[in-house]
Amino acid sequence: MSTTWLPCGKYHETYTQDHAWWQTTFIRGKMIALFAVLFVGIPLLADDYGLSICNNVGYTVLGALGVQLLIGYCGQITLGHAAFLAVGAYTSTLMILEFPWPQALLDWGLAYPISILVAAVVAGIWSVFFGLPSAKVKGFYLILTTMAAQFITVDFIITQYVSQIGGRGQAFSLPVGTIKVGPWVIDSDLKVYFMMLVLSIFLIAVMVNLLRSRVGRAWVAIRDNDISASVMGINVFGYKLLAFFVAGFIGGIAGAFWISNLAAISPEHFPWSWSLWLVGVILIGGVGSIHGTVFGSIFMVVVIEALQLVIMQFVDTSWGSRLFMDFLFIKEAAFGLVICAFMIFEPNGIAYRWWQAKNYFNLWPFSY
């Protein structure tokens, strides 16, 4: 059932109405305002640093969406998602550097967009490969098999073999001008920001649409009780693999996007800790919520930046430099405590608080 609060006397009469996007004028207004802020406000007001933080948030959103799909909607715990980001990043990079592109495609700026698509498909297929054990194992055992994805993909295949292609050593650098989308060379934070925005909105829309389709309902059924789902006639294994494919597909796009931000990659950019970090994002944001993925990403990136900026103000004081040195460790500890605190006091994450706040205003003055 839709969770949108409609004006008194208005009712949904069809299933389509119940699942429609932006059901009231107020919601449409809010969304237009949000788009105005994202596409006009931030680009006008933010400097390179601000845009860089936004791009970091976007990269985290793109990375965490797949994790949210697997853990939050399909109940398949994963701790190896950075591997699929790496597959996407390396596929895209190698295609740009090594593929004999026809000159026309290069001139039209289609090489990078095509490489993103191929990267997504390759990462999706690679993810399915590591989803195969989900037919037999779940819970902690599945965690271990997904961790294997990290070690086999990044530490072994990419490090030992893929990184050696072209004899460049470990780090691949993309020459200026090679990352081009149509007529635009992606060579500034602003252009990266717009690309991030388009990709994030597109993938969030795809995810939301999938989740309100037959496929999404099957995933949720598997998450809630896979035996019941099987009894209802859902092809549990097939849908699990589809979830792995879609998660890998989105991860591949995230990885391919990352190279536009940095124009260089090495296996060091995809450590196992990044997989763990992405799980932290959805835990803090809210498991089983697309909003939660975005809120968690904003929280994880912005909080660290804010803490650093707070420290910076006190470095010149007599006690400040000492605080600076000690605070680094406090910062890490504080971050761990925040995750613990969310688990204990708000296991539904920031998304639940957002929902409560929205309800408070939507139902005002009768919000009791």
Partner: protein, 415 residues
């Protein structure tokens, strides 16, 4: 909680954020802003913390002794925990703060940022001494006051070949055997492997299979057992000290019987503490003096360590503090020269500052440094120490430029 108190809290939060961002953007008139990226909590924090302390102390020294021709330096120093995405945002923050130059850290982020740094024309003095950063045609704004990793590795192999190989039983009967231990996935660890193999081939070594040793390794027995089949005479290590110490311990306990040569980040005062007896005879490259050695400027290094970080005992300070001082003193000299030329922009700091240095001496046991517009290798000399009987003793000094002038000038730059 009342709505009023919520409102007050929200206001306080917004005010704090506004204050932070407002203050961050402020910059005084007679001050020069410098950014510093350090790793004090991440993968390379075992050596990064001491380096970070050294950076802060050295800038205090510069300011206390008149700054840059009277202008004070404002240092913005951040720990990025060796997380590449965070390094990127910090770099953008430095740009917002109008930093004229940056003190960077690791190979991963320095190499990744190199194209951006070149585009923005901001001199970037790193603690990564990767040879890939020394060709101004490719990375014009990357610099450091050290022998690059490739020069270090070539020097180490040469020093072992000159000093140790002739004393071995099999000398003259067969080729010497060398193997290399490093983290394959790390651009830092693997930066000089190509150069090391080239040098080994040139000197007639037989080269064994590389061993993948993580920067976080605490057990390397499987790698040592693999090495035992090859029976190397010498093993080159290019990881940081904790990983190198673990490898040396396992090599000692499993009786590998090879000598060990170590790049600078794996060869410091902590190595004997961590590896114990296994460190005896280990050789490493140190382009600077060890902390507390009797060389010019070391008294200042020790004095400022005591003054600004009294909580860190002097016996725990290492050569990495000295490295940081070398990078800061080199940058300060470039800033002074650029300022004297009346232009403190990035291109001026490079052209009127760094690239005017010819055999410039900063003390700290560092050989005279030279930068030109064609070559950013500050030093061609690898100073090789041996740890023996509880002391680091200078074993040999290999000057690659003097020994192989043609190859050094034309073939070895940039890798």
């Amino acid at each position: 909680m009342s709505i009023q108190s919520r409102g007050t809290k929200a206001f306080a939060f917004l005010f704090a954020v506004a204050l932070i961002f407002g203050l961050s953007s402020w910059a005084g008139a007679a001050q020069i802003n410098i950014g510093a990226l350090n790793d004090m909590t991440g993968a390379t924090s075992d050596v990064g913390k001491d380096y970070a302390l050294g950076i802060a102390e050295a800038f205090h020294y510069i300011n206390d002794t008149g700054g840059i021709n009277g202008k004070q330096i404002k240092l913005y120093q951040f720990d990025y925990g060796y997380r590449i995405p965070e390094a990127l945002t910090k770099y953008k923050l430095f740009k917002r703060l109008k930093c004229v130059a940056i003190q960077g850290w690791g190979t991963g982020d320095t190499e990744a940022l190199a194209p951006t740094v070149a585009k923005d024309q901001i001199p970037y003095v790193s603690a990564s001494y990767s040879g890939h950063l020394t060709n101004p045609e490719k990375t014009p704004y990357n610099l450091f006051i050290s022998a690059d990793y490739s020069t270090q590795s070539r020097g180490l192999i040469t020093a072992w070949y000159d000093n140790k190989w002739p004393k071995k039983q099999d000398f003259g009967k067969r080729k010497p055997r060398i193997a290399m231990c490093y983290m394959f996935a790390s651009p830092f660890s693997s930066a000089s492997i190509k150069a090391a193999k080239d040098q080994a081939e040139m000197l007639g070594f037989e080269i064994g299979d590389d061993q993948d040793v993580s920067l976080f390794a605490i057990d390397t027995k499987s790698q040592i057992l693999a090495l035992k089949e090859f029976k190397p005479d010498v093993v080159l290590h290019t990881n940081t000290v904790m990983s190198v110490a673990a490898t040396l311990r396992d090599a000692y306990s499993l009786g590998l019987g090879a000598d060990h040569i170590i790049k600078n980040w794996g060869f410091d005062e902590n190595l004997p503490k961590l590896a114990g007896e296994a460190a005896e005879g280990a050789m490493g490259c140190a382009p600077w003096a060890f902390f507390g050695e009797d060389v010019p400027m070391m008294d200042k290094v020790v004095e400022y360590a005591k003054k600004y970080n009294p909580g860190v005992p002097l016996e725990k300070r290492t050569i990495h503090t000295v490295q940081a001082w070398a990078n800061v003193l080199g940058m300060a000299e470039a800033l002074k020269r650029a300022d004297a030329a009346g232009d403190l922009s990035g291109p001026s700091i490079l052209k009127n500052g760094f690239e005017t240095m010819r055999d410039f001496t900063i003390g700290l046991g560092v050989a005279p440094i030279t930068f030109t517009s064609e070559d950013h290798r500050a030093l061609s000399i690898a100073r090789v120490y041996e740890y023996t009987q509880g002391e680091f003793k200078l074993l040999d000094t290999v000057d690659l430029q003097k020994r192989w002038p043609e190859k050094y000038a034309n073939e070895w730059i940039g890798w």
